[in-house]
């Protein structure tokens, strides 16, 4: 943004009507110059206020300068003012940073994408791309809402379905992604030696929240 500020007004650089007004009509008296500087200051303050209100991130951090910043997912939950036309900031998927517990799994999922039929040197099918997409989206969501978690362990089965497992000393949980948001979850408790399996959809907010809370507790 380029603004006219009283401290950088160079009277000698004026041209056209302003120059005529200054040189011939004596328009820019000290009083007028002071008023222009005042307006300029007000305009700058207004711009900063609009930008600040229009880009509230959680936990409501306003960037006070243009220095390089490192973003984590929780900073992306912007709310926009509806009464102003604003320039939006677009952030691509590959610019998002994942929490450290997801990094290995994300790298592995990206590797799965490159596998073609027979990738193991035998006849293993190519991984299901929709399954990888859902696993990736799930990890991004988990990473944005859960600051700390056990390591996400990526898996791939002989039918090309991706899954992510989470484990601590007493519990094991894995989520298999069948594409179209359809998932199968498997839980095992070492203490009771009992397992359970359920099928659901990531579209269902209640299920999704419950699943992420359970993973966060591990």
């Amino acid at each position: 943004m380029s603004v006219l500020n009283s401290s950088v007004v160079n009277v000698a650089g004026f041209s056209g009507l302003f120059s005529d007004a200054y040189h011939n009509d004596g328009l820019f008296t000290a009083d007028i110059s002071e008023r222009i500087a005042g307006w300029t200051g007000n305009i700058v303050d207004a711009c900063v206020a609009i930008a600040g209100r229009s880009c509230l991130s959680e936990p409501h951090v306003r960037w006070l300068d243009s220095a390089t910043v490192e973003l984590v997912p929780s900073d992306f939950q912007f709310t926009f003012l509806e009464c102003h036309e604003l320039d939006l900031v677009y952030i691509e998927d590959d610019e998002l940073l994942f929490r450290s517990y997801c990094e290995n799994a994300i790298a592995e999922l990206e590797q799965y994408r490159s596998y073609e039929f027979g990738w193991d040197g035998e006849e293993m099918p190519a991984p299901n791309q929709h399954s990888i997409d859902d696993a990736y989206t799930f990890l991004r969501l988990l990473s944005s809402s859960c600051e700390e978690c056990v390591e996400a362990i990526p898996m791939l089965d002989h039918e090309g379905i991706s899954s992510i497992a989470f484990e601590n000393e007493s519990d094991y949980m894995s989520v298999a992604f069948y594409g179209g948001n359809r998932v199968v979850t498997y839980r095992w408790c070492n203490l009771t030696e009992q397992s359970s399996v359920s099928k659901d959809s990531l579209d269902r907010a209640e299920f999704l929240n419950s699943l992420m809370q359970d993973i966060a507790k591990l």
Partner: protein, 189 residues
């Protein structure tokens, strides 16, 4: 009728990649499965005892990643083509390592354009632990068959039941427990 195994393991009669589906099609369970495991598929077959150790070759990057953890696909062959193992009682570490080196070399020669495999060593799982892997109805998922086709110590772990989505996740977890990567016997330098 365990005699069907003779045809299934006859390369002239059944393609190797069809073995798993054919065995599942036999619907072996409980006593029938035990009888099938004791059946001499080859003339020199000796049934695999519960207390025998089964050595599984580990290669990088297809079964163990560069970070030392199991690759996602490490044991999926058990559900597709049969998981190849060496019976520890009928061989020795040197021969297992020799087989592992040969296997990796053979793959690399056949697949010059693919990422080369490196033999790392082997890991041993107890046969009884494989036989303990069961579904929610208490039926065994896997049969352990003596298959001394080219090697007297060879045994295959084959799926004997159809699996659903939950079963696959259950099996993934248990194979990592039976064959602990932390116990790998590394190849001598």
């Amino acid at each position: 009728m365990p005699g069907r195994l003779t045809e299934i393991f006859d390369r002239a009669a059944t393609p190797v990649e069809d073995r798993c589906n054919r065995i599942v099609g036999c619907c072996y369970s409980n006593e029938a499965l035990e009888a099938a495991e004791k059946f001499a598929i080859f003339k020199s077959s000796l049934p695999v005892d519960d207390q025998e150790g089964l050595a599984r070759i580990l290669e990088c990057p297809n079964s163990v990643t560069t970070t030392g953890s199991y690759h996602a696909m490490a044991f999926q062959e058990a559900m597709k083509r049969g998981l190849s193992t060496q019976r520890v009682n009928l061989t020795n570490p040197e021969r297992i390592h020799e087989f592992g080196r040969w296997k990796a070399d053979a793959f690399n020669k056949r697949n010059e354009k693919r990422q080369p495999r490196t033999y790392l060593g082997y890991v041993v799982g107890l046969c009884a632990e494989v036989r303990k892997i069961r579904n929610s109805e208490g039926n065994r998922f896997f049969g352990v068959f003596a298959t001394p086709e080219n090697d007297a110590a060879h045994a295959d772990i084959f799926l004997v039941l159809p699996v659903d989505e939950g079963d696959k996740l259950h099996i993934q977890r248990l194979f990592h427990k039976v064959f602990k990567v932390a116990n790998m016997v590394g190849v001598p330098a």
